[in-house]
Symmetry: C2
Subunit: 323 residues, 2 copies
Amino acid sequence: MLRTRFTEAFGIEHPIVQGGMMWVGRAELVAAVANAGALGFITALTQPTPADLRTEIARARDLTDKPFGVNLTILPSITPPPYEEYRQAIIDSGVTIVEIAGANPETHLPHLKDAGVKVIHKCTSVRHAVKAQRVGVDAISIDGFECAGHPGENDIPGLVLIPAAAREIDIPMLASGGFADARGLVAALALGADGVNMGTRFLCTRESAIHPKVKEQIVANSELDTQLIFRTLRNTARVADNSISRKVVEIERAGGTFDDVRELVSGQRGRKVFEDGDLEAGIWSSGMCQGLIHDVPTVAELVARIVGEAEDLITGALTDIVA
Amino acid sequence: MLRTRFTEAFGIEHPIVQGGMMWVGRAELVAAVANAGALGFITALTQPTPADLRTEIARARDLTDKPFGVNLTILPSITPPPYEEYRQAIIDSGVTIVEIAGANPETHLPHLKDAGVKVIHKCTSVRHAVKAQRVGVDAISIDGFECAGHPGENDIPGLVLIPAAAREIDIPMLASGGFADARGLVAALALGADGVNMGTRFLCTRESAIHPKVKEQIVANSELDTQLIFRTLRNTARVADNSISRKVVEIERAGGTFDDVRELVSGQRGRKVFEDGDLEAGIWSSGMCQGLIHDVPTVAELVARIVGEAEDLITGALTDIVA
């Protein structure tokens, strides 16, 4: 058992979190993570309406009596989803842990805190982590350059970002981006984090409701097989290398605008990858840690393996180094 | 005391290495590192001729009776330095440890091995590490995206690169890039390395023979204050942010060639920064770990601090996490 300030504050057994993932963060996976003693997050916006989110939360609750959370990602958008309604669905459903990513959590915070919800803010810079701590979030998830999805524009990897943040952050902190195994978990703890957030690694488990071909491709991929798209838009996203992501990068390099790639990067294309296993249908998020992923275990096997190996690493190999 | 396969194989006390640094890797610093029980490297090409290198090695030997090494960086060049003559100077001087960086070490290896020299190959990808192991080097120094100087073109940070390499490498392995403190050292050991290589951190010590203004600037800089130049030439270098490095990036973005920046990036300008403390005279290498550097200690203080804190971290905070 690994006890940290994060496991204590959030009432979970292991300092391992399954972060929000579009199309992936659904009841079955989240419940499996909860039942394994880790903390899973339903992705709010994967549900087409706030009513669907209520149903999804209820489904997860049927599958586990352990705590789980909901991720609410508030990315800049011309026609934003009804964030307040999603937030209310979370509160009404009695969920007590929310991860807010994508932008300043400040406007949502009083509503969530008043309802007794603990808020984790996911961000990609020390500056934003310090700001979130100041406005009163309960924990930080600091997301490095390695991550799948949106790494920000500063390109600071976890080896530097985590200890730099740890110096400024007093509340519990998760390390995110590049983590897939026990080595990473122990490294994160050494660097000053109180646990790790893993996305790609949990995506590649038996219980994640995506097509097996995607999981096989992640196992086949190395750390080199990602692309950074939307660099030119200053809305960088790390996605799996395929013909579509390479094409987007090419169009951007040639000076193309978002309009030139809009159709290629549509969410429905990404959904098609995950649902139909058509790996070239669209872009799909994957992190560099796919180079550390070599199998498709059950969530329970994965969590037990990481915790067991982390314990052995600390009390065995590392302790032996101290002569 | 921290004992690893690296300290055993190379006959040093602590798993900490001061890597080759142009204009910085001189006798006083290298001897101070050796006297602190770590492993320092004289930078061969900082000496204008092989004869000067012989003198520099002799100077270091006057200052310490502990082992030290010489770095030989073999970067692609139209008019290369006389590498064979530098190599012979190293062998004739009785140096028993050489770090080869920049290209395939294969042509130099038989000469060095025949002379009983142990060779560390510094590289930035798993593929090159595997190749170096196959041709018979004694240790790998795997250098992540965070590093000062040349991170390669793959942009894989240490959190992923180190464990990915550890899976393939059986000989002792150093982790390089982004390391400046005990947290980083313990993280590197957890990720599968047998020690750390630090450049920027040793540059920012009392004994490093560069102008104090450079050291003050590193302390003032955050992890955000670096620039990647020569991306367009596929010879990327991470350097400190200043007016010159920003100008080089700007010229490259506008489609400029090496001829357009040649004068700006000349080695003599970089040397002027280090010798005169004119921070805007030219480009100078610095890594992201400058965000973790907050003082200018003596080498002895630095090494003792890192080792002591690493021991405490392993036997204290990390062990306490295992409930």
